[in-house]
Symmetry: none
Subunit: 424 residues, 2 copies
């Protein structure tokens, strides 16, 4: 089973936006054993789109198309679809209803332009869009299925996950693929590769493929194997993971099973806190609210997350978090003493069970020879104790914020679980 | 002059890495007036690569190829090049010299595998790589030029900037392209389209293309035109923008010139605050630290950003922000009275000139018939006054956080600038 991913939009070709939709779609297809053989991006231009359709038809069983479905005039995709499939645009009552409810819910009236969102090529199967107004469309021409979706990432993603993948799985007898991903934090990709080299060399004998998926502070290791017997595949992969765990135990913070979302460190922590009926507060200086925003992106997190303080200025560390003047003067804001005081006091101020505090120099400026850019102190406190650790990251501000956040979250997780390997 | 960008590599097709090289190359080509008509990604597979070359030849004058030149994969890619150009691989002495010096500089000996990096198809023009070991290659077949480069971004970028673009400019008399983008907040894509319909209809007469680039709460309008005279193009586009401004003035928060980064609302605000020597503090409830993280992502923002409080729990709105008990009991946390108190008090607590406060129901749960999911109150305060506005967004948590943040930032911007159209 082969797929092609086609992106329509001038904004891609002039380099105005990065094509992240194709990456995500490729990941989803890969996981269910559909091979992506080609990706292409073309302009909002009828001839280019039709030429791309004709080429895709020779290569792929499924063509995933994103973009070109907005209500405005730069979007000619639907008219082109109708022409390619020798059909005409008709009003779909179900979609018209969806579009009307979408605006009604937001106290708005449906304009004529928006009513046109309900025009679809006659004969196509409509894929409803619960998150927006442009419907998806599913057509078959000869032996190739064309699936058109809006380019807005979360609208497209919901359609693929909830409707398109189940439909494809139902229509095909796909080989069974088993994926399991080991989530690690606190070790870089190449150090990890050296550490597990012998183990990795044996994987091919077991017909298991390994992929390294790095992001700042985190490396995911995905093991995949395909065959016919789901149980046999699972036990084969699990047996290898059992051998891997002792080698890199202190870096593992979780696992991701195929078909499930990657567990996020903040979700894992929120789950642990919920089970223990404990709460958390944050004092974020150099991460500046980023960790708070990760927690508050989780629905229902208010049960365990009390809140956060971002005392970006040093005088606020003193005034709002009671960090002693002498600490700020003698040790400085980026120091063990300061971050310990922040963690202990944010706990008390916010009346939470745990306090997590961060202070560092994110860069690009603000470094000194003793305290260079990339230096970060992280502390965690509960009622009884407080643990502070020092880290040295790089010189890229955005990357330092991400590295610090992932490191702090994993430290907090280990602290709550009382893991012995906390100092790694 | 037309170009195609072709990426070779399995890692793209399985969704392991995001293709950022293509975006960057497209930007560079656009700036010198070369139109990118197609982008494609294919696997490390001889047949796929040759098919892609043949298709590119029908569409483009220049084909930019990245990837497939690593020391493990170069066997197939370079052999494929040689086959496509009916030639054979020969050792290039200059490249061999470059490769040897590269390793010598790093106190390493050149391995046999690395010596093979100096094999290039006979008859191609070598593009030297000062930052790595794989050389670039420039071939011409019929009327199309094929340019092959390594996939490592900084190696590829140096080759394009220092060698390839100057060579292309020298060979051609290129047309000029002018882009300018108008940044709007507070109006949806379709409402905007209706509002500017008459103006938009006249654009084609002026040989100007318009594109709508939406994201939650923000729509960017890009005007593009190409020709021979840079000054004439600029004044033609600027003349149309002058006509557009009065129609949608209250939604415009900035402009983006091509080749420059899109100005972010938070950067615009930080710049205004710097000029006015004023400071800001945030009280974020439903956005949960997200706006703080936007500000603290900006280097040097500590000059104007004092910090933020995320009083996620209602008792903290009372305890840490002095919101009166009767407000929380009678009006609730999502109310004008509460958000006004938050904005005023965060200003005082953090000793800042401006206070921005947000309280809302991000969803998916927590809504009531009177206060449904998507209801958000935003307030801005300075020493003299406080302004609070109510908004109704949708039912997607992540999108609500983004919409709220962009709306709050623009409200703050208008408030600081004392814009009269603040209530939109």
């Amino acid at each position: 089973m082969k797929a092609e991913i086609l992106t329509i939009g001038d904004e891609i070709l002039i380099g105005q936006i990065t094509n992240t939709n194709s990456v995500w779609i490729a990941q989803q297809l890969n996981q269910i054993g559909i091979k992506v053989v080609h990706m292409a991006s073309v302009a909002d231009d009828k001839e280019e789109i039709i030429a791309a359709f004709n080429q895709a038809k020779t290569r792929a069983d499924y063509v995933f198309i994103t973009g070109g479905l907005g209500p405005t005039k730069d979007d000619i995709t639907k008219k082109t679809f109708a022409e390619f499939f020798n059909t005409e645009l008709v009003m779909d009552e179900e979609v018209l209803n969806d579009v009307s409810s979408f605006f009604l819910k937001r106290d708005k009236i449906v304009s004529e332009i928006n009513k046109n969102q309900a025009l679809v090529p006659s004969g196509c199967t409509v894929i409803r869009n619960p998150n927006g107004t442009a419907p998806g469309m599913w057509f078959k021409k000869d032996n190739t299925v064309f699936i058109s979706m809006p380019g807005v990432p979360y609208e497209m993603k919901a359609m693929i996950t909830d409707c398109i993948l189940p439909k494809i799985k139902k229509e095909n007898n796909l080989p069974v693929i088993y994926h399991k991903t080991v989530l690690t934090q606190g070790i870089g990709e190449s150090a990890l590769a050296e550490m597990i080299e012998d183990w990795e060399n044996n994987l091919s004998l077991k017909n298991i493929k390994l992929a390294y998926l790095p992001q700042p502070g985190i490396v995911r290791l995905r093991l995949s194997s395909s065959g016919n017997d789901a149980n046999e595949l699972a036990s084969r992969v699990e047996a290898e993971i059992e051998k891997l765990v002792p080698i890199i135990k202190k870096f593992i913070y979780g696992y991701e099973l195929y078909g499930e979302e990657t567990p996020k460190l903040e979700s894992i922590i929120a789950d642990i806190l919920t089970k223990k009926n404990k709460s958390l507060a944050l004092a974020e200086s150099c991460t500046g609210g980023f960790i708070a925003s990760l927690f508050t992106a989780l629905p229902g997190v208010s049960a365990v997350f009390r809140g956060a303080l971002v005392p970006y200025h040093n005088d606020l560390k003193k005034e709002l978090l009671n960090v002693a003047d002498e600490i700020l003067v003698n040790n400085g804001a980026v120091s063990r003493a300061c971050v310990e005081a922040m963690a202990k006091n944010v706990r008390l101020k916010f009346n939470s069970d745990y306090g997590l505090a961060i202070s560092g120099i994110a860069g690009p400026s603000g470094g000194t020879p003793e305290k260079p850019v990339g230096l970060v102190w992280i502390a965690v406190a509960d009622k009884e104790k407080c643990l502070a650790l020092k880290f040295m990251f790089g010189d890229n501000r955005q990357r330092n914020i991400l590295m610090t956040s992932h490191t702090a979250l994993n430290l907090l997780r280990k602290f709550i679980l009382k893991e012995e390997t906390i100092v790694s």
